[in-house]
């Protein structure tokens, strides 16, 4: 019987060591439910599988490599909830995603720059006025993407306590089935009410636009809204928190960013590569027998693609274990690849570019307020990061 997916980290920034040190890019992997599937750790193979339509994203075909289902695996073995296109294949996936892609183009995200700069500046002002120390997660990393996705979708930010709580339960590996079910019911109920309000009184936001376009059912609108809300919250927030932790532990890199010695665009890509917050990888199920790297994957077998391992593959990145903001991180898989590649990636990039640059410009003396070993890391969550980041300046 093969081993389970290694999940224990030794260093807060490095993926579990068992993922490395083998020349096998494809290994048998045991799943907690007894399934015998596969683990992919090389960049080339992970990219190939993600682009290959013979491997499915359908929820009903999926198995999870970690004990607790994450949000998109909410009911593994059953079809995805309406609107949950992350767990569907084309053409269902294509129909739903295409309703949204016009809202997340490079141009449209660039147009949000002034508003995001304003949000970032307001939070840095508040942090400065309150004085050190601060928890960077609560003061900066979480509220910025949260406010931005709420404004974009048209979700009142004042209601955030409800869905931030639900989001953390749905993405927490230690949440019980009951807790997850309650969180799901609470958040979908809230969003169903919101969709009703948008239908009655449309405003200038994404949810109103989708409601007015009339292509999606109410259930689909709720599913899409939930997906965007959760994805918009946890991903960028954890990149900002964990990325800042990493920069504080690599002061020469933080200085290169602050001084402009490396372009912030490049820095963001390298932080994405180095940290790969989707820590347990992503899964695909073979729709037919497929030969891969000299092995036979049989129909129905599940592959786990370790994005953290692929992004540390020495065949793709010459010094993969080093954080080098000036290095070449092009082609990293932190946003995935294939038809499911992150819809919000251009938004995430803008938020991170503005966020990191403004943070280190405002607080050139930013430092950890606790020993690094006391920073609580999210090894219990589907999306890696820090629970809190106490900082001073």
């Amino acid at each position: 019987m093969p081993d389970l997916l290694p999940t224990t980290r030794v260093d807060p920034f490095d993926p579990p060591p068992e993922l490395f040190g083998t020349d096998q890019p494809l290994r048998p992997l045991a799943y907690p439910d007894g399934h015998e599937g596969w683990l992919v750790t090389s960049h080339t193979l992970a990219k190939a599988v993600l682009a290959d339509q013979r491997f499915s994203s359908k929820l009903e075909l999926r198995r999870t490599p970690v004990r607790r289902p994450v949000v998109d695996d909410f009911r593994v073995g059953e079809p995805a909830a309406p609107g949950f296109f992350i767990a569907m294949d084309p053409p269902d996936h294509t129909r739903l995603r295409r309703q949204l892609t016009g809202q997340f183009t490079v141009r449209r995200m660039n147009q949000l720059t002034p508003r995001i700069e304003q949000i970032v500046a307001e939070h840095l002002d508040a942090m400065e006025q309150a004085g050190p120390p601060a928890d960077l997660v609560q003061a900066f990393a979480l509220p910025i993407p949260s406010l931005v996705i709420c404004e974009l979708l048209g979700v009142p930010y004042a209601d955030r306590a409800e869905f931030q709580q639900a989001s953390s339960v749905l993405l927490g590996l230690d949440s019980t089935d009951e807790q997850a079910a309650v969180a799901m019911k609470s958040i979908t109920g809230y969003l169903a009410g919101l969709v009703g309000r948008k239908r009655a009184e449309p405003e200038d936001d994404l949810l109103s636009g989708l409601t007015e376009a009339g292509e999606l059912s109410d259930d689909e609108l709720v599913g899409v809204a939930l997906l965007l809300l959760v994805a918009g919250h946890e991903t960028t927030a954890n990149m900002l928190g964990l990325g800042t932790f990493a920069l504080l532990q690599h002061p020469e890199q933080a200085e290169a960013l602050r001084s402009g010695a490396v372009p912030v665009d490049n820095a963001v890509e390298e932080l994405m590569r180095y940290l790969s917050v989707i820590q347990f990888g992503t899964t695909r199920t073979a729709l037919e027998d497929v030969e891969l790297a000299g092995r036979l994957i049989t129909k129905g077998q599940v592959l786990t693609l370790s994005l953290p391992a692929a992004n540390r593959d020495p065949e793709k990145f010459p010094n993969p274990a080093e954080l080098d903001l000036g290095g070449d991180a092009h082609g990293h898989l932190a946003f995935g690849h294939g038809v499911h590649q992150c819809l919000g990636q251009q938004l995430a990039r803008i938020e991170m570019r503005i966020g990191y640059a403004a943070l280190f410009e405002r607080f050139p003396g930013l430092s950890l307020a606790v020993p690094p070993s006391e920073v609580p890391v999210r090894d219990d969550m589907a999306i890696y990061g820090v629970h809190r980041l106490p900082v001073s300046w």
Partner: protein, 64 residues
């Protein structure tokens, strides 16, 4: 010469991000628009990179 398959495109925007002089995205559905099918040699590097980065395989380079 660049060919773009708009049926395959998923609007991720990697092309418009990587080679903005050559690629744009439709305001309506985010799908790729090729601004210059025969870009100058100075763009060759970023165009190749855009093709390689395209997540859905919607872009193809052909010798002319």
């Amino acid at each position: 010469m660049i060919e773009a398959d708009r049926d395959v495109c998923i609007g991720a925007g990697m092309c418009a991000l990587t080679a903005p002089a050559v690629f744009d995205q439709d305001d309506e559905d985010g799908r790729v628009l090729v601004l210059d099918e025969q870009p100058p040699a100075s763009e060759a590097g970023v165009v190749r990179e855009a093709v390689e980065l395209c997540p859905s395989g919607a872009l193809t380079l052909r010798d002319t």
